[in-house]
Assembly symmetry: C2
């Protein structure tokens, strides 16, 4: 557990947050929704990554469908997922989103745009052949990683 998480947990234990952010159903709903959205990225990426690694037989139609799903997800309006106060300092274990995300909204928007672009390219490539799928997956992974590295609490 990181120092930040330990500190947050200690405050939670003391009831410091009682009646504030923790009691706010609006924030809980937002966190649940963004986790659900990430879950759908992972579900579709899992299939494509399995094909890229040769663990799942390449299937052009299935690859195209999963990649189209990713592009649709990336293009969806996600503004309501990230209300102020829904960071892991305020909410504790419920989320891994670092407060830094809200201090760097322009960067987050840039990465979000990169993801949209990369998934659109993947949606064109994935159904062509396995090499095209593999080549297009890299930029998607880069966009995912860019946000997670800077704005998601690591599990270390």
């Amino acid at each position: 557990m990181s120092i930040l998480r330990s500190f947050t947990a200690a405050l939670l234990g003391l009831g410091v947050f009682a009646g504030s952010a923790l009691a706010d159903g609006h924030l809980d709903a937002a966190v649940k929704a963004r986790k659900a959205h990430m879950q759908l990225y992972a579900f579709n990426l899992g299939q494509l990554g399995g094909m890229a690694k040769g663990e799942i037989d390449y299937d052009a139609a299935a690859a195209g469908a999963a990649a189209a799903n990713l592009a649709d997800l990336a293009a969806m309006n996600q503004a309501r997922y990230w209300p102020e106060g829904s960071d892991n300092f305020a909410m504790g274990e419920e989320t891994r989103t670092l407060p830094a995300l809200w201090d760097n909204i322009d960067d987050v928007r840039k990465i979000s745009g990169d993801l949209e672009e990369a998934t659109t390219a993947l949606a064109s490539a994935a159904g062509q052949d396995l090499d095209s799928l593999r080549a297009a997956l890299g930029d998607v992974g880069k966009a995912c990683g860019a946000c997670h590295e800077d704005y998601r609490q690591s599990n270390d």
Copy 2:
């Protein structure tokens, strides 16, 4: 707890399913993904329903964005969410999807098409004004209800 659920729970207690469907990560992943998808329906519908009921101030841009999200979600390829064996008889408490869904795939597809149509209409209407939003929500609710009534275990 329903008779079906009690029976399933009893079998689970006896370990009857050990090593079969319960151990299949593929089925677990599918159930998680479809629950995530439903969560995103609920998140966007919650905002629109709140506006329709007057609990949230009507905001044309926000309503349009939520409705567009619903239409995008309804149009996504969801074939991998429903593998054979991922019903609540085989998997127990993990899912409420009744085995009947797989016996009535044509009806499920029809309802799924109805939902896509209703959310597309909602996406056009929601940003116009509150009356248009209200009028278009009804058909979305009907499609949700049609599937839940016949293919989801009730909580009674």
